[in-house]
Amino acid sequence: MKNKLLIYGCVAVYVLFFSGTANPVLAKEKKDKNNTSVLATGKDSEADGNHTNVTKKEFNIREVVVTGQYAPGSTENAVQKIKLIDSKKIQAMSAQNLRDVLSNELNIRLSQDNVLGSSLNIQGIGGEGVKILVDGVPVIGRQNGNVDLSQITLGNVERIEIVEGPMAVNYGTDALAGTINIITRKTQKQTWDAGLSTYYESIGTYNINGRLGLHSGNHTILLSGGRHFFDGWRDNEKPFALSFRARQADSNRVFQWKPKEQYFTNLQYIYQVGKTSFTYKGDYFNELITNLGTPYAYGEKASDDAYRTIRIDNALFMTTKLAGDKNLNVQVAYNDYKRISNTYLSDLTTLHKTLTDNAGDQDTSLFHQWSSRGTYSTSKANATFNYELGYDINLEDASGIRIKNTKQVMGDYAGFASAEYRPVAQLTIRPGVRYAYNTAYSAPLIPSVNVRYKLNNVTLRASFARGFRAPSLKELYFDFHDSNHDINGNQALKPEYSNSYNVSAGYARRVDDYGYKIDASGFYNDMYDRIELAQTGAGAQYTYVNIGRYKTLGVQANIEMMHKNVKILLGGSYAGRYNNLSGTSGVSAFSYSPELRCNVSYQFTRAGVSVNFFYKYNGSLPGFALDEKGNVTTTNIAAYSMGDISVARSFLNKRVNVTLGSKNIFDVKTLSTAGSVADASSPHSAGTSMPIGTGRSYFIRLDFNLNKQ
């Protein structure tokens, strides 16, 4: 392990040094025998002297999306506004998990808890209002309403589809502020394909991902897996610290960002016959977070925690295209999530660890979900009328301490229908409705209307949709009593609702060598019946009630320009969040915050080198809260900038890819938070700074690709 960096360095130097010479052995394997130089293969555009090069290719690629669509179609034709992050961007960012890739998106803010992981906020609404799916199967295992985004690795991801605004008609609860659908790789043309990707980051990240694919006739097997390891970070830690020697158990054992180790593997078996395909997908994920405590009692003792998360997901998919442009999709999935937290007392004089017996020290949270979705839809091009009918069944159970009777079950049986009506070629109107029966709460009837109008190069969209978030099993069945706390769940809770309005306009045009894409959009979310913890009666009794009110609104604009070897994306957003105190105190109704984004990509085609720069500015988040005395104070979370830059080069006919770069070039570590919100229900104080990054880091990534036609 100690020599890993040295090995990487040697390989990088070797490849860079020898890349200038043609390798006669490999040249034989190339299909195009006319090229004598290894480097020329990637530059067919320059070789044929056309100069249309990158721009035309980029412009004309049809970006295919499936989320909420009757049949796979392009983002341009989709009635909803769907953002696409393709694998090219994931590779260009050297993103290792979902958190990395979302850090560059407008209207998405990320937060970090060093034990619970990464959470997000879309359009000013927290992670409990965001639905995360993998191939249409919901991701379970929310801690405090959030899925830990750093548990979703990207090794086998083909693209990520993001829909802002509710998709509750299709996907039910939690699809309120947005839906993120992660689509995995499903096809392979070559007989066999194998690849290995290794990633080292100077803060102590050692990641390795591998894949193997076999394809023969109607059968395809795709296997991928990997290990991600992070050795922990604290401020003022030396980068590139490569010491794995044993060290004394003193205060240096404590890290702000905790050491984390993840193992994962996925298997897909796809059987394609005619227009029908059957797929089995299995995933296994195992993560361990180690939280070593500060030594106390003259450094002789410490309290250590370990958190192990295990996810086992199985799914079966069947998709078929029937005669007359009819589509049938059915999926059945079983997800198993387990999170074990253990607390130990470590005797640092003997290194002996004992599991402690205090209430809450050892806990296992278990979530299981059986889900099945099916849709039947027509997708006749140019038809006046297409429709979709679907069902969506979710059976989930949760268990853990502080849940009444230790375990609770919820069943949700829903049916939905929508239609796309095209009175004229340019106009599509899509109304939809969802009806559900739920065993734990009274499920609402959910309507939505999407409108799309396309004229020449301009596409206009507008939508109204209802979104909802079901009360979680914790909010329904919480049970926490000790001498200072008396908190009960509320079985009469209703879901939270939102009425959401979205409008957008997009313009795409190509003039000679220049390509432009401009888009602008606006949103308004009006939420009510938000579930909050409130005092009931005298004393310290609390329960959850539907009393909250919340609104968010904002505008966003992006310009993307492509010219020859350059691609530039500039974007900005300005969003406001409602202040609850504006109803009672005289503070303004909304607090606003800007965001800015700038991505630049340049291809040095002659040298075969590409350079990528990603930048996002997150404006400060002001707000108002009541302090312990009940007076109105201002709160603020500081602004910060995130920048990544990298240089990549591929060799040996794209068989080897080397990327060098720097992440978080503005060295952001913690954000100062002023006027922290006091929780009047307890004297436990809130912090005054938030961890957001691990400072500037440097990385190297090596990808190896092998395949056989």
Binding site: D250, T356, N358, H684
Partner: protein
């Protein structure tokens, strides 16, 4: 591939020198009240916090009545003098008008106060047991007190059992004599004789004056009221405190001078701050310095304060 976290090496044990180390256990739910003697370095006695409800000043001229604040008890004066007329309906407004014993132990600021002139009926909540279960309301009326004892009439507020007129006998060897509403309302023995102990480990009710006078149950260390005073100093190291330094301090008789703030709670665990040093001026003019080093026992169970102390 095995985990790449570096292995740890053990640290050497700390050499305490002349300082004594002692610890007691209240159990993880803090159900015990433990009395300790620094002179003999032993635990003198212990009782369950639910073993008593009211304490009565035991000196011949004493008349103050204290509540068992470890159970989060409060009292309200109904203003009525007719014992039989007071019932559950009189608890309206209890939350707003309830009184508490001040945590410093100052007998001029008790919840019941000076009851001798008007013989008012008080409604008292018995608080919670160690499981967090509420113990209900009682009413009491203090009828008389003299050098030998108190006569009080008391009973369960909802009238589910008969009330009782009971005489509590004083004993000047103790700070207080005690009454329990369990077992048919009886006088019980709780504290050891006042000359036999120095400090007590118990839960008690602290009042957060900067949070709108919010009562909160905390776990800490209280002084004996009898000829004992203390002082808190976090400006010097524990080793630097000697007899001469102890002479320079101004001592207070507030019983919560040691209190609970030598540890902080971060939401999941307690961290003990060893820089919080205390000097106790105990009976017979003896001075002890002490500071806490742990709140968990050898098995990691909380409620086990461990401290170092030395006679100066």
């Amino acid at each position: 591939m095995s985990s790449c976290l570096p292995k740890e090496l053990p640290v050497p044990k700390h050499d305490a020198g002349n300082v004594l180390t002692a610890s007691v256990s209240m159990e993880a739910d803090y159900r015990w009240q433990v009395f300790y003697s620094l002179r003999s370095n032993t635990e003198v006695s212990r009782n369950l916090k639910t073993a008593w409800d009211l304490g009565f000043e035991a000196s011949t001229d004493g008349y103050h009545i204290v509540l068992n604040t470890s159970k989060s008890m409060f009292a309200m004066n109904t203003g009525k003098q007719d014992f039989d007329q007071v019932g559950m309906k009189d608890t309206t407004g209890f939350g707003l008008h309830k009184q508490w014993d001040t945590p410093s132990g100052n007998l001029d600021s008790t919840a019941i106060g000076d009851w001798r002139a008007a013989h008012d009926v008080y409604i008292v909540t018995r608080g919670y047991n160690e499981k967090g279960q509420a113990l209900g309301f009682v009413k009491l009326q203090l009828l008389a007190s003299d050098d030998s004892g108190y006569t009080i009439r008391c009973g369960v507020l909802d009238g589910s059992s008969a009330d009782k007129t009971i005489t509590i006998t004083k004993d000047a060897h103790y700070n207080f004599v005690f009454l329990s509403f369990d077992n048919g309302i009886v006088q019980v023995a709780i504290e050891p004789p006042k000359t036999a102990w120095d400090i007590e480990f118990t839960q008690y009710t602290h009042i957060y004056t900067d949070l709108g006078n919010m009562p909160y149950t905390v776990t800490g260390c209280l002084l004996n009221r009898y000829e004992t005073a203390g002082v808190y100093d976090s400006t010097v190291s524990f080793d630097a405190i000697n007899y001469d330094k102890a002479m320079t301090y101004t001592y207070t008789t507030a019983v919560n001078v040691i209190g609970f703030e030598w540890k902080t709670f971060n939401g999941t665990t307690y961290a003990v701050d060893m820089s919080h040093c205390y000097v106790v001026h105990a009976q017979n003019d003896l001075y002890y310095k002490l500071h806490f080093i742990d709140f968990y026992d050898a098995n990691g169970i909380k409620g086990a304060p461990k401290w170092e102390f030395q006679q100066l």
